[in-house]
Subunit: 150 residues, 2 copies
DNA sequence: GTACATGCAAACGGTTTGCATATCT
DNA sequence: AGATATGCAAACCGTTTGCATGTAC
């Protein structure tokens, strides 16, 4: 029972066709690193089927997002997706120096969410939540340059 | 003493030229609404000087950002800027339904920031912080549709 | 057989760049 | 005078779309 068998059921249920391209893209996302860029998904999937077109990847990812199979992640200025996993919902910290993305447990956001909801009636979309900043490594690297290098 | 006199000093100090275009763009940002898109800045500034080119706006905004005169805001998929005001630093909540952006006082983020810093050594870049979600109006509008409309 | 998905190529929109000209200092 | 900023046009890059062909059902 693979990680994405539920996704296949979802496709059938909605009357969508199970094309080889869709399966490839699904596998690419399921097996690839977390929060993948479209180009990354494309490269991976194309390894198994060189005729695959970017347009298909975009269309498929949009379909998957609408079905709830993948989640869009607001990581950079380009689109990123990851397999939706309600049991392990998490968020991201993105280092703007080195570009790395780190997962962040929802635990750290519960209180924040509740506050926004209570005070402003604003329901944060935490499935798509990202904080940018500086990660430990890049932070310490900066310090090594010393106060002179600014 | 206008809101942006400090900015002019900053420009001179860094040896940058005070061209009419730059002044116009600065004024457009200072007088316009918070977190303006590039096109909005462009339209406003061009009202006073129709020959103004978008490229100049982009170049100028980047310069201003590097000088710290404006702050880049990660509001949508396009670039947004606002006049940097250290005394009234704030963040944003963006409604993904209607697109409106609301200011969010740093008060609500202090604790969150401290936690990330302490636990992960991750220094969030809160000058560029944005939560997406659903605002009060769009949230209640959804409810009005009732449980049937899903 | 028919509706839907794909590949291909071309369009699109925001942003950037090369270059000759104009302008600030 | 000399360096730098501008306008213009064209490149760029990620993403989307139109259309004829192909394929899952």
């Amino acid at each position: 029972m693979s990680k994405h068998s539920g996704a296949l059921k979802e496709l059938r249920a909605k009357g969508c066709r199970l094309t080889p391209q869709r399966l490839l893209i699904l596998e690419a996302i399921a097996e690839g690193s977390a929060h993948m860029g479209v180009d990354e998904v494309f490269r991976r999937a194309r390894e198994s089927y060189p005729y695959l077109d970017v347009a298909t990847v975009y269309r498929t990812l949009r379909l998957f997002r609408e079905l709830g199979v993948v989640t869009e992640v607001g990581i950079a200025d380009r689109l990123h997706f990851e397999l939706t996993d309600p049991a392990a919902r998490h968020h991201h910290m993105v280092c703007k120096v080195c570009g790395s993305a780190f997962d962040l447990s929802p635990y750290y956001l519960e209180q924040f969410r509740e506050t926004l909801s209570r005070e402003f009636g604003f329901e944060p979309d935490l499935g798509n939540f990202t904080v940018t900043g500086t990660c430990v490594r890049c932070g310490s690297r900066k310090e090594l340059r010393g106060p002179i290098g600014n």
